[in-house]
Symmetry: C2
Subunit: 403 residues, 2 copies
Amino acid sequence: MLIVKKFGGSSVADKERIYRVARRCIEDYKKGHQVVVVLSAMGDTTDELLEKAKEINPNASKRELDMLLTTGEQVSVSLMAMAINALGIPAVSLNAFQVMMYSTSTYGNARFKKVDTERIYHELESGKIVIVTGFQAVNKYDDYATLGRGGSDTTAVALASVLHADQCEIYTDVDGVYTADPRVVKNARKLEAVTYDEMLELAAHGAKVLHNRSVEMAKKYGVQLVVRSSLNENEGTIVKETVKMERMLVTGVAGEKDIVRISVIGIDDKPGVAFKIFNTLAKNKINIDIILQSIGREGTKDISFTVAESDLEAALNVLEEHKEALTIKEVKYKKDVAKVSVVGDGMMSNPGVAAQMFEALYNSRININMISTSEIRITVLIAESDLDKALNAVHEEFGLGTY
Amino acid sequence: MLIVKKFGGSSVADKERIYRVARRCIEDYKKGHQVVVVLSAMGDTTDELLEKAKEINPNASKRELDMLLTTGEQVSVSLMAMAINALGIPAVSLNAFQVMMYSTSTYGNARFKKVDTERIYHELESGKIVIVTGFQAVNKYDDYATLGRGGSDTTAVALASVLHADQCEIYTDVDGVYTADPRVVKNARKLEAVTYDEMLELAAHGAKVLHNRSVEMAKKYGVQLVVRSSLNENEGTIVKETVKMERMLVTGVAGEKDIVRISVIGIDDKPGVAFKIFNTLAKNKINIDIILQSIGREGTKDISFTVAESDLEAALNVLEEHKEALTIKEVKYKKDVAKVSVVGDGMMSNPGVAAQMFEALYNSRININMISTSEIRITVLIAESDLDKALNAVHEEFGLGTY
């Protein structure tokens, strides 16, 4: 069997943890499997490097930042190879140039285009555990380009795909994917399996277990993922195309606090104005989430939408800059809001889920601000102070807890 | 003019120093020159990385050590590019994969085979200062291979050669090459120029200004070097083929303490035995310096030679292991010895230099243990406690001091 195993930065933060991962890889190797390991930078290395860069130049180019950051994973993989060697097993570390992992050219947010297999196969066939730097690729200028935060998950999926791996294991500090955040919802239950689409909706709406792009890629190339803990031997959660068992109506509940509601007030009530607003924001790389349009005074419209809190300043600047062109009278924003989402493939054939969710919230006296839905997700915007109560109420309503 | 400038690790150890180097490079850039900068890893980075590796695996493979160490220079070059950018000048950092600097395959001690110019020329022509990682190359396995300690000097010379640079400046923490170590000999004088051969002899016998291999390469490819300080604007020392001025008999004096004398006692007095001993040591990568052969008791011979103190243990092990085959009765060693060398092209046509040196040492009551000479160098082995006195006596004798 060919297994790709990905470990995040906290799993390789010090000598003890590096050896724990090394032994875990050797276990599989000794069972006769071929093992490819993908690693992130150790512990807080990436943040420390960013801090160093900021000290030298707060507006450093993304090209040079990527050149700096990619050293982090290279340190991890070489130390891991040394640890595995010390335990008597042959191993070799490889960076993006050596594997030849090619990406689009966008520094800081590149996407894989083509990943070579020759070098990895060669090393595997010579009996080595192969350790590959996550998070990094080489673009058409022959420069390092990083994949953005959490990009090591994507590296693992990309390698699993091109190598036709039998398994792709993503190790984190939690046991798997839960019906809700166990820190908030006491009787949250670990899921045996979720579909790619469920995972995507959960990840996009607050569950921080997997990097969204890695799930998209896994779905696209049919790579079955296992999310499990690097701290214990528990079975994890499988992420795959379809989950063949009697499903609940709802698979999981996710919450997110770091968002802001922005209201654009008094715009002309003409076709195309709303489009222009969202287009202008998109051009400035500001992601819009839930949208609510309402009728304003004297033939004008109001539009509200949510963005990530980290995008607030940029969004306000963009709106201010194009205020006239977009016929905006006033811009308001509200920070203490949160999202609650229920996700589940079972929803598709069950239109009653939304009503059931709203009722649960109503019974807990939680006011709903805005609503957004997809085929397998319903999201509501509520006051941030109501978040934990809402998560518990909804989790309870759909009977997601441990039996 | 195309200028290659090399700065060592202490010159880029912190933000202030990085900016000092950045401004120095920009000065040349603003005069209309094309500037290629070669950097070592910041401050003690290389030692810290070695320490980390040792913690994980004290016998780490050289292949993985090189993978680890090369991150050091990559951090330096990216931060330097950020600093130069912050000062408003375009710059780009490149590693050995990006430049395509190919070397022999020996990890930890590789030698350049071929260095591409396309990427560097391209970046220079687009108006950028180009910053290249020193110390590292890529070998035929597509792995990083480092050039050994001081290898960044060699990188600078190699780049100056292939780019047909008009100047190759090696920046250190001293003003240039001196007639003797100014910390030991008070009136030591900075030399305006030395020949490659003189520099090679000085470097090989204790002057730590330049990496020997870089001088060899500079000589081979006719790259004129300038050794100067990164801390001030003083003119440095030029290293070139011939120095056209009235030369002193002796150009400089060098001393070295970190050596040991090993005596191999009672070996068979047959042809080939001495050869076998040195051949066995050479095979084990132990460099032998001065050799003295003498007649022992009962038809046997004794051979004494010096090695670097760091090679002592290895040398003793090798000799012990092959004791019988080499007909060795006993091995002794003496640590408190030192070498004093006088170097100068002028010596070639002046056989009296040795006698003059010995007399100066005799007048200072310094006992000579062993002697070794080349066409332009005379080296004597003395007691370590006599070193400073010897250096001053010889420096004085040949009138090398400031006038």
